[in-house]
């Protein structure tokens, strides 16, 4: 990881605030809500990650075994992190998270295989950034494997720009200073 998580200067947005509901491209009614910290939601997330296809793992996450999934979730669901979940009824379709790193936040997003390519990722990440803005977060960064065109395209669409392209992974950033929410 580069110690310098340089983010672009231009502000992005505006971004929607969760909760949001929409119909995805496969006709499913999806609701995006902020994680409420309850055991039910925690267990539903564990269920989603248990069903996660190993080919969609990136840079070692999500972990493969349930025990390690729980340990990892304990870290990213702690109170200083921001989490939004995409629900299809009582089942989790996707999850996006912001984890603090000094002055900035690292972002990651996961969409279960059967819910991919239905527009859920875009809604999730936009709602997470909206939620981040209301929590006064200004700098967000992420890393992505450079061959993952679908993910890079999604991040660029919502306003991320490449800040470091000199290592295995691309590093991208977004500046939420002055970004509006709706």
């Amino acid at each position: 990881m580069s110690p310098d998580h340089t983010c672009p200067d231009d502000s992005a947005g505006p971004f929607p605030l969760p909760p949001r509901t929409f119909t995805d491209r496969a006709g499913r009614d999806i609701e995006i809500r902020v994680y409420d910290g309850s055991e039910d939601e925690y267990e539903a997330l564990v269920e989603m990650y248990r069903g996660f296809d190993s080919k969609d793992r990136a840079q070692g996450i999500p972990p493969g075994r349930e025990e390690r999934i729980r340990k990892w979730l304990d870290n990213i669901l702690s109170s200083e992190c921001l989490n939004v979940i995409a629900w299809d009824g009582l089942a989790v379709a996707g999850h996006a998270t912001l984890v603090p790193d000094d002055e900035s936040y690292e972002l990651a997003i996961f969409v279960l295989q059967v819910y991919q390519q239905a527009g859920i990722g875009t809604h999730l990440i936009e709602a997470l950034l909206g939620h981040g803005i209301t929590s006064d977060i200004t700098q967000v960064w992420l890393t992505v494997e450079r061959w993952n065109n679908a993910a890079v395209g999604l991040y660029e669409k919502v306003g991320f720009e490449v800040s470091d392209s000199e290592s295995f992974e691309l590093q991208m950033g977004i500046n939420l200073d002055n970004a509006e929410t709706y």
Partner: protein
Amino acid sequence: MKILLGVDGTDTSLHALEQTVKRAKEAGDDVTVGIVTRDSDRSVAGTRSDVDEIIESSEIDVTVQHLDGDPGSQLVELAESEDFDKLVIGGGKRSPMGKIQIGSLAEFILLNSRITVSLIR
């Protein structure tokens, strides 16, 4: 086995040294540490004393060399010119999120070394 370990003074490189001497003690490896410098804020002397401390407590004989110049190419060149069996480096930090990230030194060595590379996470 004749092993060259690259140490740049970072925590991951010192962790790799600890693992390497531990293994060497059991397997009887012949270990050489190549100290490289990457950023000006980390002194060679500081790295050297960290390295010496780990080697002393390991109770095995380890050769230590300072390598000037570009860290990656110096390590690869030494490993190949002196017939090492394996080049070992630390790398693979985790981000706050838990993503594994390969540093630029590890990346250079993985791509450019013609001898076997072990990446210690």
